[in-house]
């Protein structure tokens, strides 16, 4: 066996919290990386994957410090080096591809200057040669106009392009190790494919080793050779991609994988004949900005129509900018639509929510994506749940408190949690409270805007199960907005595919993969990474289609 390129042993990293306490966030992690190998660090938020990746460059974020263990890269002992020696290594031996290239490019400098900066800092080659090499890399990364793209400023190119440019920036110094820090997480799925392909090709060509940090097993399966599963700053399991995916030994890995298993949804059979749809939307148009001739400057929603029967669930899918969140806001009246009708339970809603009656408002509730911003940090959980009880139902005192406890019980939270503040809860708990607040109104329709997107997969799966259970008990209907097709598949009966503010197709959820007709729906559905190592290499997409629809 060859000597590993990187070897990390018993790495310990500590952090100082706001209140001055020291906590250990990386607890004795050890692993090796062979030359030319791509190793994935997989884990959920707080697992320490990014912290470990950055430590391979000898860098820790403010407040963190390497407390023990060793990191060796080639012949250099990174942990024993001075900051100056580490700076020598950065860019030449080990380089970095950030999560958000848009933020990592300096807005006031041309792209070319930033891409070749490593060669300037370390005096690697003359400028002309560096620029020629950069253009070569641009070509290898399949960037458009490789000869001239370097003369632009970062704000003049798209996010997917910037992400590929940042890979060129990392590869220019011919490093031995490239660290990818969730480089496709912020991208839309149709963009992600192209970026992943470019990374894979460029890495194969350079022969460098890589570390790929991600929370997404399906993405990692396409690009990595080996996977290290992390949780709470400790290695849970380590193995080849195939082994991890097909024969995971650690229960946590199995849990991660099970979240990927397709769970098709079947609505509970309707008990009685349902006379009118719970929601019907006709030719709905909404937008932002100044109104001119009764139309806003920026039109987002264009003639959206659909209807949803009581007790059934509707999924709305689409990429960023498709208008799916705007649709929820327009229905709720937060963004009053300028044309079209919204009928909830057969009753026509006025556009502006201020003009709707309390009873009309009560029937449909909206739940937002980020529980962090959806719960007022200065109100206790009890107060948060109590408010809609008082507001809609006039409950007070003991009766209200009893109902708060009941609601917490419905979302499977202990009653004592009502005395806490949102900041003291975990992400999953907060999202449950967020949902319980909507339930407090005793609604008939709940608009869920990406409610599982910010959660770790395992937690998200549990929330989906909860939603299904509540639907059975409370006779609810959900309108479920998401960019994640598997979540939509798991809970919805029908699906709307949105693209640039329009509904391009309406489908039954259970056979959307098979029966999608519209070219965009097919592109979108085929772009979802599958838990299969051959998925990316065998994926064929019509280039014309990609050109037409992908927002690269």
């Amino acid at each position: 066996m060859t000597e590993p390129l990187v070897s990390v042993s018993d790495l310990r990293i500590g952090a100082t919290t706001d209140s001055g306490r020291r906590v250990e966030i990386i607890k004795g992690v050890s692993f090796d990386i062979a030359p030319g190998e791509m190793v994935a660090l997989i884990g959920e938020s707080g697992s320490g994957k990014t912290t470990i990746a950055l430590s391979l460059m000898g860098h820790t974020r403010t407040g963190c410090e390497i407390d023990g263990g060793t990191i060796r890269l080639g012949t250099s002992e990174i942990t024993a080096m001075t900051e100056r020696q580490r700076a020598e290594l950065r860019g030449t031996k080990v380089s970095y591809v950030p999560q958000s290239a848009a933020a990592a490019f300096n807005p006031s400098k041309r792209i070319m200057d930033q891409v070749i900066e490593i060669t300037t800092i370390h005096d690697l080659m003359p400028r002309a040669k560096a620029e020629a090499r950069a253009v070569e890399l641009f070509r290898a990364l399949a960037l458009p106009n490789p000869d001239t793209i370097g003369s632009r400023y970062p704000h003049q190119v798209s996010g997917g392009q910037l992400q590929r440019l940042s890979a060129a920036m990392a590869l220019i110094g011919s490093p031995d190790l490239v660290i990818f820090d969730e480089p496709t997480t912020a991208l839309d799925v149709t963009t992600q494919i192209e970026v992943l392909r470019a990374f894979k090709a460029a890495m194969a060509e350079s022969g460098a080793s890589g570390v790929y940090v991600s929370h997404d097993l399906a993405v990692v399966a396409q690009i990595a050779d080996r996977i290290i599963v992390l949780k709470g700053g400790e290695v849970q399991e380590e193995g080849d991609v195939e082994q991890i995916m097909h024969a995971p030994s650690h229960p946590y890995t199995r849990e991660l994988l099970s979240a990927f298993e397709p769970k098709l949804h079947a609505s509970p059979a309707s008990k009685e004949a349902r006379p009118r749809p719970i929601i019907e939307v006709r030719d709905l148009c909404a937008g932002y900005g100044h109104m001119r001739n009764g139309e806003p400057l920026a039109k987002v929603l264009k003639n959206v129509s659909f209807r949803l029967e009581r007790g059934r669930n509707l999924g709305v899918i689409g990429e960023s900018g498709s208008g799916k969140s705007t649709l929820a806001r327009a229905i709720a009246g937060i963004l009053p639509p300028y044309r079209g009708d919204v009928l909830i339970d057969g009753q026509e809603m006025l556009p502006d929510l201020a003009k709707r009656s309390k009873e009309e408002l009560r029937k449909s509730q909206i739940v937002f994506q980020l529980a962090d911003t959806a719960l007022n940090p200065t109100h206790s959980i009890g107060a948060i749940l109590a408010r809609p009880l008082t507001f809609y139902h006039g409950l007070k005192g003991r009766e209200r408190e009893r109902r708060v406890i009941e609601l917490l019980d419905m979302v499977q939270l202990p009653a004592a949690i009502r005395h806490r503040l949102p900041g003291e809860l975990s992400g999953g708990q907060k999202q449950r409270v967020n949902f319980a607040r909507a339930l407090a109104a005793e609604p008939e329709l709940i608009l869920c805007d990406e409610i599982t997107s910010a959660l770790d997969t395992v937690v998200a799966a549990a929330i989906i199960d909860l939603l299904k259970e509540l639907q059975r008990e409370l006779d609810l209907s959900y309108m479920f907005i998401s960019h994640d097709l598997s979540t939509v598949e798991a809970i919805c009966d029908e699906v709307l595919v949105m693209y640039k503010g329009e509904v391009v197709e309406a489908l039954a959820a259970r056979d959307m993969t098979a029966k999608a007709q519209h070219p965009y729906s097919r592109l979108l559905i085929s772009s979802i990474p599958q838990l299969d190592t051959d998925w990316l290499s065998s994926l064929e997409q019509d280039p014309e289609l990609v050109k037409q629809f992908a927002l690269r």
Binding site: Q365, Q369, P377, S380, R387, K396, G397
Partner: protein, 286 residues
């Protein structure tokens, strides 16, 4: 909504939110409290009547009898400083409370209502912000005179635009938060949104802002008094004490140095306190 049971109402105290005040912050707070107490009891604990001539000499150095010496008329400087605290601290506090109350109320209303109300008010107050503070004071005092109520209102008016702009920016941020949107979608009134959803979330930074504006106000008040346009003789705040005794400057008389030091201890300690507030509360970059 009013009768909140004790179980539901849990105040987010500093300790529960993980705040911690460090040593420098505590020293700052101690000095602030010290001057606050003096402003109340100053005349009682003063060794001599502040307005009376108690010695034959003038501009005397420090002594056991007259701790900070005598002033240009032979009055006890120590007693006059204790009395001056009442004017400096009292006027500034009154002004800063008016400033911040008005600024925060207007700022929150503008942020929530938006539209024309917000635009006109913001333009107008921004323009007033374009008048340098001491200049504002000069013009106002020239026009209206320098009685204490006028001084308080003038000082308050000078800083309302700043307090408004700051509170509005905070409130605009909070207003875009989903919990405010949820409350609005629930059908809550503007009053509820402002008082229950927004105000508690801007309170921390607003208190820090109150401290900063307090310092500004103390400085402008002292400046005005120093120019002879603030508190009028025979009464004197600390700035006025410096002015009275400015003749003693050329030989470093305690009568001119100690009132200056009194101002500095107050303003520096407020600054120390604010700068060492936990970042969660402070969270400002102006």
């Amino acid at each position: 909504m009013t009768a909140r049971t004790s179980l539901l109402a849990r105040v987010p105290t500093p300790a529960r939110l993980g705040y911690r005040f460090n040593l420098v912050g505590r020293i700052g707070l101690a000095v602030i409290l010290f001057w606050a107490v003096i402003a109340i009891v100053g005349p009682i604990v003063a060794p001599y009547p502040p307005g009376e001539i108690v010695g034959w000499d003038y501009f005397t150095p420090m002594s056991a009898e007259y701790w900070f010496g005598l002033d240009y008329l032979g009055r006890d400087v120590f007693s006059r400083i204790l009395m001056g605290a009442r004017y400096t601290v009292g006027i500034s506090l009154a002004a800063v409370f008016i400033t911040v109350t008005a600024g925060v109320l207007l700022g929150m209303v503008a942020a929530v209502i938006g539209g024309w109300f917000d635009m006109v008010l913001s333009r107008l107050l921004d323009a007033l912000n374009g008048i340098p503070s001491l200049l504002f004071g000069l013009v106002s005092v020239a026009a209206l005179g320098s009685s204490i109520p006028i001084l308080i209102l003038t000082l308050a008016a000078i800083y309302i635009p700043g307090a408004y702009r700051y509170a509005r920016a905070l409130a605009v941020n909070v207003n875009t938060m989903d919990y405010v949107t949820v409350a609005r979608a629930r059908g809550e009134t503007t009053f509820y949104l402002i008082s229950r959803e927004i105000f508690p979330n801007i309170l921390g930074p607003v208190l820090a802002d109150l401290g900063v504006r307090f310092i500004f106000i103390v400085l402008v008040l002292s400046g005005l008094s120093f120019l002879g346009l603030g508190v009028q003789p025979p009464n004197a705040d600390w700035g006025g004490l410096v002015r009275e005794n400015i003749e003693g400057m050329s030989f470093g008389a305690p009568a001119v140095i100690f009132p200056s030091i009194a101002i500095a201890t107050l303003t520096i300690s407020v600054n120390m306190f604010i700068d060492n507030l936990p970042t969660k509360i402070r969270d400002r970059s102006e």
